[in-house]
């Protein structure tokens, strides 16, 4: 047998066949393999016959097909087909029966017409009670007789395997196993190829190993982080519980003047001393004091801020501004803002232009609260555009501050940053700063379209009729949006002197939206004139449509 052919065969066969191969290899003896091999090759044993059994019953089946023999004994009835002295012929008959549709026929052994097992035959051959005849007249070419001895050695079998021209595909698994077992080991792969294949395997195993290690590492890290978080959470709750009593004593048992006169040591006596140096404990005190500062008012706010300073917690808050983590910096800014740490203003100033959006936003918000710069230069000098969120945040603070004193917005109107200028115009509008209308009129000619729109809206919102001439200049602009804003503003201002100008605009070839704004404007200034004009111009594009639209109350704001 060519070992390479075996390898090819093994490659082609499925896993089940390979498993069978190993099991059989483990269980078979070389002698047994030789006997069955001999029988397959056509050797005969005197007194031994073979038949093909297709079924067996406990009772007599009565009817059987033609060509089959019924062989009954006391135990059961067997349905047999033929009787052969040659095992190979019996196998052929079995295969033929399978082909015509009989399921699972097998070949039983008979000795002197008695059913015997293969092991019994093999034992009798061993004991030389039976002789194997490998030279029946119908079989084997000359020269193979020597190979088919009754008890051949392993070497003989190997020799037989090497010289016999078997087609591997024609062999059944059992005989293949026999031949594989008797063949000496000869690696299929050449050295180079095998090494390369091993290398691939090593790489694959390496990648798998790294993946498994990485996964395990991640799981361990997750468990560790979760555990640490749990410990931290428990500690936080513990520290919070520890803090409640001393903070209550400081707030309600001590007067403001008493706390003011206290030293660090005296305040520290209220707390567990060993914990004051603990970073987490310090942070919990800061958090709790800030929480109280938000909830309490009056003298209690002063007490909270005093305790905060006396415990030197302000140094930790200011120190957070140096952190590389933006979350820590913003936390520091919030603490500084809440505790009014004005000494930190110079450091915060440098953060107001920070590239990080949150740091920049919190820094400006803190400066709005703490800085003495009434011109809001830190806001005016912003190089980054202001987002809507920032504008809302700053507006809330500026609105709060403007209740105490007037905030200077003129510097913001001169900012080089368009978004800051637009924000300033909105502030003028929302805070009702009519004192800055003149300033807005000044910057109007050089302003960008978005600014002009905002200025026009502000003029309208503040009913600045005296600046209608500024608004009118928008009709000369190219931007239709700006023209629409101007028309809406003029409609709100209701200046009748501007009617000729509006009518002149309406005469031109203009778009639907702009025409509707102008007609709306005309209607709000002089309804009678609007009706006359609209009826006279019904043939003009859109006029009839717009008229119906404006008269429909449900569409008045559409």
């Amino acid at each position: 047998l060519e070992v390479n052919n075996l390898s090819v065969y093994l490659k082609a066969k499925n896993f089940r066949s390979m498993l069978l191969l190993f099991l059989i290899l483990a269980g078979q003896t070389s002698y047994a393999q030789t006997l069955i091999q001999q029988l397959r090759k056509g050797c005969e044993i005197e007194g031994v016959t073979f038949s093909v059994q297709v079924a067996a019953w406990d009772e007599d089946p009565k009817n059987i097909s033609a060509g089959f023999i019924l062989d009954c004994d006391q135990v059961s009835c067997k349905v047999l087909y033929g009787s052969y002295t040659n095992y190979a012929e019996a196998l052929n008959a079995r295969d033929s029966l399978e082909k015509i549709g009989h399921k699972g026929p097998w070949v039983p052994f008979f000795h002197n017409d008695k059913s015997v097992s293969y092991e019994q035959i093999r034992a009798m051959v061993r004991r030389q009670e039976l002789q194997v005849n490998c030279d029946p007249p119908s079989l084997q070419p000359a020269g193979t007789q020597e190979e088919l001895t009754s008890s051949p050695s392993l070497e003989d079998s190997v020799h037989t395997a090497e010289t016999a021209a078997f087609q591997v595909d024609e062999l059944d698994e059992e005989s293949l196993v026999v031949k594989a077992k008797s063949a000496p080991f000869k690696p299929f792969y050449k050295l180079k190829s095998r090494v390369m294949d091993d290398l691939k395997l090593i790489i694959l195993l390496g990648i798998l190993g790294i993946f498994i290690l990485f996964s395990l590492g991640l799981v361990v890290a997750m468990i560790w982080v979760k555990r640490m978080n749990k410990i931290k959470h428990v500690l936080k709750e513990k520290y919070k519980a520890i803090l409640r009593e001393p903070l209550s004593q400081l707030m309600f048992d001590q007067e403001t003047e008493d706390i003011k006169a206290m030293s660090y040591e005296q305040i520290a006596d209220f707390f567990p001393k060993e914990l004051l140096s603990n970073k987490l404990f310090r942070q919990i005190i800061i958090n709790e004091l800030i929480s109280l500062n938000k909830s309490f008012k009056g003298e209690f706010k002063d007490k909270i801020k005093m305790v905060y300073r006396k415990l030197n917690l302000h140094t930790y808050s200011i120190g957070k501004l140096k952190s590389r983590k933006w979350g820590v910096v913003t936390k520091g800014l919030v603490e500084i803002n809440e505790m009014d740490l004005e000494e930190a203003v110079p450091k915060i100033n440098s953060l107001s232009q920070h590239r990080n959006f949150y740091i920049r936003s919190y820094a400006v918000a803190t400066l709005l609260n703490l800085s003495n710069d009434k011109n809001l230069t830190y806001l005016a000098n912003q190089s980054y555009p202001l987002s809507r969120w920032q504008q809302i945040t700053y507006l809330r603070i500026i609105r709060y501050l403007s209740k105490k004193e007037q905030v200077k917005l003129s510097y913001l109107l001169d900012s080089k940053n368009v978004s800051v200028r637009i924000f300033a115009i909105k502030l003028v509008n929302l805070l009702g700063r009519v004192d800055l209308l003149e300033k807005m009129a000044e910057i109007f000619p050089a302003a960008e379209v978005a600014e002009k729109k905002e200025i026009v809206r502000s003029f309208a919102a503040l009913h600045a009729s005296s600046y209608a001439d500024v608004i009118v200049t928008c009709f000369a602009e190219n931007s239709e949006e700006l023209k629409i804003s101007a028309a809406e503003a003029l409609g709100i201002l209701g200046d009748k002197d501007l009617v000729p100008l509006i009518l002149k605009e309406l005469e031109g070839e203009i778009g639907f939206q702009y025409k509707m704004s102008l007609m709306k404007c005309l209607k709000s200034i002089d309804t009678v004139l609007y009706e006359i004009w609209a009826n006279d111009h019904l043939a003009t594009p859109y006029v009839g449509l717009i008229q119906r639209h404006l008269e429909d109350r449900s569409l008045v704001n559409v």
Partner: protein, 120 residues
């Protein structure tokens, strides 16, 4: 000794208020959420209830409603932030709240309001 039920989910605030009102000689029972508050109204028959509005499980409005059924004679002070909807505050008063203390608040001022309501 008068019993006051304080329903507040912020433990720090409830501890502070409890500490302050204890100084005036009141017996304070604290409930940390709406459900615990309702349970306490049933069990400890308070002379006055101080309740937050925004709380887990049951809000202050539900607490007032419940208290009006079980203890209609018990005055209720609503303690809440100014950010609450005006409608909520009005609803609280309509349901029978006796007083409203907006946050941030002065604990001494709260103590005075408590004293006044308990006297009445």
């Amino acid at each position: 000794m008068k019993n006051i039920l304080l329903i507040e989910d912020d433990v720090l605030i409830s501890t502070m208020v409890k500490f302050r009102l204890n100084k005036d000689g009141y017996n304070i029972t604290v409930a940390e959420d709406g459900n615990a508050g309702m349970e306490a109204i049933r069990n400890c028959s308070p002379d006055l209830i101080i309740t937050d509005v925004m709380m887990p499980f049951k809000n202050g409005i539900e607490i007032i409603n419940f208290a009006q059924q079980y203890k209609p004679e018990c005055p209720i002070i609503v303690l809440s932030s100014l950010g609450e909807e005006e409608a909520t505050v009005m609803e609280a008063f309509n349901l029978g709240a006796a007083d409203f203390v907006p946050k941030p608040f002065n604990p001494n001022e709260l103590a005075i309001r408590v004293k006044r309501l308990i006297k009445n």
